[in-house]
């Protein structure tokens, strides 16, 4: 009875509300976004041509100077070479030609048409660039002697405008993600929770439990009902206290009702969504440097024995190691001190670490603080994970972990975009300080929102309510899951996304902004499709089919690069891998939970092995890359992923046969 009311009202209202909010806000953002793109283009286009005009006028003035000195127009020595050098230096110039008044060509240099990596995007047709050539007259004294014509590469302009478009898209996405989180928070606090609270208290009081009261307030009838129920509990408690002690103990012994001593306790409900906003902001804060940390580390003071590449990689490595080392203990910590306290305790050190990183001059200090941040990032996220699992009552649903993953990756996405923007505008220190400020906000939100039992220390082990009897950890199924799916997935992420993709793209001429955008595509897939996968996993399709199709998709994405190559092939592979991993991730965690009996410990083991796999994979590929090359590495990875699925499938099927 309760369940039906709850599900009827709460879920549909909340989903409906969030859906509406999201639709409206997204539409607004898109509208403003489109208008912004138009405004930016209007501002940018003339400036682009200004530069080319400047180049042209400089060449012209050189020619005119030579003419003034008495050198005949068609005898200017070194003109061809000068024009070639100019074209080499400035990408946007396609062709420069110098002609005399009579039409005779004095010199002409054209850019050799290199095979273009960037195919003409549709934007080229949408945004028609008006002027592609400038002509300037050449004077000698008061006489017109010729003309210089500069042709601009339309591709150059298209690329710049496309960059503007993509940058605005990224900002729009960031704004939308923030909107989703805000919308969810608003919906939960204003609608979801008040109803839940009243229903819960009603249930308790109907069964004779008058120990609790709830937060007063709520819309209309709900508010009044809440007040009424609170009063029930307070009144009984008051009257009991008024009685003499002897009578009180007699009543306690005989009655099967429970009445509060003194004042009724505040009942706090936990919901997975409590942690969302806090964790989202925390993730934004810690990942604020994601886009530029290697640059920052490389430019810092480093001891002479450390090469720039190692310096750039050092913080990342320490981060992985710190998280890997802490994962086994994180779960125990969360249970001992309570998720809430652990999360709140993790915030101040993170704030300190972020601020310190901004003001560190040397690589050693930067790496150190990154390590500190990694440790407390691990504890904070594990705390939230525990909270989420406990709030969902450990049913082995993919939902809590799926939501959790979506929040974290959404935060990564937004944090790196925001950090890149801030650093570009105000410098690295400003970005770090902003990160610290956001972390403070997340701490405050955590304090306010993480109520309820899920945040408390665990006194007794949670029993697993349903599902098959928990297998011993190193059972075949868990191992198969681990080695066949989890490790290849994480190795693929570390090797391909973090390491090879930037290398391949940089080698074919992409700048850091472009590389960042491609890498962010991977996280975007998680953010966009994460929740759909979660509901599919819990619902009709189930975990295993999703897992297998996801692994197949990622294997295919990797192997596709052995057939096709080029910028768009890499983009497709990254997107494909992102999609594949999204399909894997939530079901993977759900399955792991189920197999290991519903506690967070199994999950932590999973995460630990994943991280170790990532570290080993990264190290191996760094060592081997020189010998075997990028393409072979990717092929090996793809094969590893596919064989992993095969292994898992075999074990799974064998298991089914055995139990059948």
């Amino acid at each position: 009875m309760n369940a039906r009311v709850r599900s009827l009202n709460r879920d549909s209202l909340r989903t409906g509300l969030i859906g509406m909010m999201a639709a409206i806000v997204t539409a607004s953002v898109m509208a403003v976004g489109a208008a912004s793109i138009a405004a930016f283009d209007r501002a940018v286009e003339p400036e682009l041509t200004n530069r080319t005009r400047l180049i042209g006028s400089i060449v012209r003035s050189e020619i005119q100077h030579a003419l003034e000195l008495g050198i005949p127009f068609n005898a200017i020595v070194g003109l061809d070479r000068y024009l070639s050098v100019t074209i080499e230096k400035f990408d946007e110039v396609d062709r420069i030609s110098v002609t005399s008044v009579s039409g005779q060509t004095v010199a002409v240099v054209e850019r050799p048409t290199a095979p273009s990596i960037f195919e003409r995007s549709y934007l080229g047709e949408v945004i028609a660039f008006r002027q592609t050539a400038f002509a300037m007259s050449i004077l000698n004294g008061n006489e017109l002697v010729g003309e210089i014509t500069v042709e601009i590469s339309p591709l150059f302009v298209q690329t710049r405008l496309r960059d503007v478009f993509l940058d605005v898209m990224v900002i729009a996405l960031v704004a939308t993600l923030v909107a989703m989180e805000l919308a969810l928070a608003v919906a939960v606090t204003s609608v979801g929770k008040p109803l839940d609270r009243v229903l819960r208290l009603l249930g308790q009081q109907r069964d004779g439990n008058f120990l609790h009261c709830i937060r007063p307030g709520g819309l209309g009838g709900l508010g009044r009902a809440a007040a009424r129920l609170n009063d029930h509990a307070e009144d009984l408690a008051e009257r009991l206290t008024a009685l003499p002690a002897a009578v009180r103990s007699r009543i306690r012994a005989t009655m099967d009702t429970r009445i509060a001593e003194g004042r009724p306790l505040r009942l706090r409900l936990s919901d997975i969504n409590d942690i969302r906003l806090a964790l989202f902001l925390f993730s934004v804060a810690t990942e604020i440097a994601a886009a530029f940390l290697p640059l920052y580390a490389r430019a810092a003071v480093r001891p002479p024995w450390l090469s720039p590449e190692l310096a750039a990689a050092a913080p990342l490595v320490l981060y992985l190691v710190a998280v890997a080392v802490l994962s086994p203990f994180g779960g125990a910590l969360a249970r001992r001190f309570g998720a809430r306290r652990l999360f709140l305790a993790s915030v101040p050190p993170t704030v300190l670490a972020l601020a310190a990183m901004g003001f560190s001059g040397s690589v050693v200090w930067i790496t150190l603080w990154r390590g500190v941040m990694a440790v407390f990032y691990a504890t904070a996220t594990i705390a939230c994970q525990e909270y989420a699992i406990r709030a969902a009552a450990g049913r082995g649903s993919a939902r809590p972990v799926g939501a959790f993953v979506a929040v974290v990756y959404g935060g990564v996405f937004c944090g790196s975009a925001l950090g890149g923007l801030l650093a570009g505008r105000f410098g690295f220190e400003a970005a770090f300080v902003s990160g610290a400020a956001i972390a403070v906000v997340s701490g405050v939100l955590g304090l306010v929102a993480m109520r309820g039992r899920a945040g408390d220390p665990e006194t007794a082990p949670t029993p697993s309510p349903d599902g098959p009897a928990p297998q011993p950890w190193f059972g075949a199924r868990f191992l198969a899951l681990l080695l066949g799916i989890a490790v290849p997935m994480n190795a693929a992420t570390a090797i391909f996304i973090w390491y090879l993709t930037p290398l391949i793209l940089a080698a074919s001429g992409s700048g850091p902004a472009e590389i960042a955008r491609v890498v962010m595509l991977y996280y975007l897939a998680v953010v966009l499709f994460g929740s759909t996968v979660v509901s599919l996993s819990d619902g009709r399709i189930g975990s295993v089919p999703l897992l297998v199709s996801g692994a197949l998709a990622s294997g295919a994405a990797l192997l596709s690069l052995t057939v096709w190559s080029g910028f768009w092939a890499v983009v497709a592979a990254v997107a494909g891998l992102g999609l594949g991993h999204t399909l894997i991730r939530a079901p993977l965690y759900a399955l792991a939970l189920r197999i290991t009996g519903g506690s967070g410990a199994g999950l932590n083991a999973l995460r630990l092995i994943e991280r170790i796999g990532a570290i080993l994979g990264l190290a191996a590929s760094a060592v081997l890359l020189g010998d075997i090359g990028a393409e072979s590495s990717i092929r090996a990875l793809g094969i590893a992923v596919l064989s992993g699925i095969a292994l898992y499938a075999i074990v799974e099927i064998a298991g089914r046969f055995r139990s059948a």
Binding site: A23, A175, L202, G221, A242
Partner: protein
């Protein structure tokens, strides 16, 4: 209806917050774009100014000894009235010739950082006062012998960014107003079912309360029709239990010696 307005207000607030974030970030981004445009133009200028000095360095003439240095720098400065100064500096960063009077002794600290990061190529950077752009000049055996530094003001930049921010803000306000109207419509239609449900909850509570008052005068709780039957019966059970316990307590108190 209260629910509807509350939701509408919430949507508008979220919309406002999000659009503010968007406009803020987009303005930052535009600032970046604009700076890079100015900077790239300065790169062209730096390259061009350095050309004669490169020729001198190539034949081996020390930079400080080029006799018409100041004229060369000044000629470059005159291509754009806005340029504040152009300096020629040596390998240690000391300024050898300059269009500025009096000339500073050395290039600013940010320039050292910029040179280090660019590894000899042309670079530009935004500073508190505007922009600096520079390019190194190398001798025949590829040793850096000095470079050119251009100092450019940031005023025009700031104006354009502010103008863009204002434009985006106006845009957002327009969109917000449109969204306010449209979303009122949208919510009304879309959340119809949920609002009805909520009103059902409300009426369940109201009719329960009515029953509660009336029960004081002896009328029993009556069951009414409706979706929220479950809610109503829950309320009534809880109420009943409370009254029972209360009466028990009262009885105990009376019994007590």
């Amino acid at each position: 209806m209260a629910l509807f307005w509350r939701i509408w207000a919430a949507v508008m607030l979220v919309n406002l917050a999000v659009l503010t974030i968007f406009v803020g970030l987009a303005t930052l981004q535009f600032g970046n774009i604009n700076s890079s445009l100015v900077g790239e133009r300065l790169l062209v200028l730096a390259d061009r100014t350095a050309a004669p000095f490169k020729a001198a360095a190539k034949i081996g003439l020390p930079l400080s000894t080029v006799r018409n240095s100041v004229a060369l720098l000044e000629r470059a400065r005159q291509t754009d009235d806005a340029i504040l100064a152009i300096h020629l500096f040596d390998a240690e960063g000391r300024i050898v010739h300059s269009t500025a009077r009096p000339a500073p002794t050395a290039i600013p600290a940010e320039a050292f950082a910029g040179r280090a990061a660019a590894g000899g190529g042309a670079w530009y950077r935004e500073t508190a006062e505007g922009f600096i752009s520079s390019i190194d000049i190398v001798s025949r055996d590829s040793n850096p012998v000095g470079g050119i530094l251009i100092v450019y003001p940031g005023g025009g930049n700031v104006t354009r960014i502010r103008a863009m921010a204002a434009e985006l803000a106006l845009l957002s306000i327009a969109v917000l107003l449109a969204a306010a109207a449209l979303s009122a419509l949208f919510l009304r239609l879309g959340l119809d079912r949920q609002i009805t449900m909520f009103e059902a909850i409300d009426s369940a509570v109201t009719s329960f309360e009515r029953g509660a008052w009336r029960s004081a005068a002896g009328r029993s709780f009556s069951m009414a029709e409706g979706d929220a039957d479950e809610l109503r019966s829950l309320l009534e059970s809880a109420e009943t239990r409370y009254r029972a316990e209360g009466r028990k307590l009262a009885a105990t108190r009376d019994d007590a010696p």
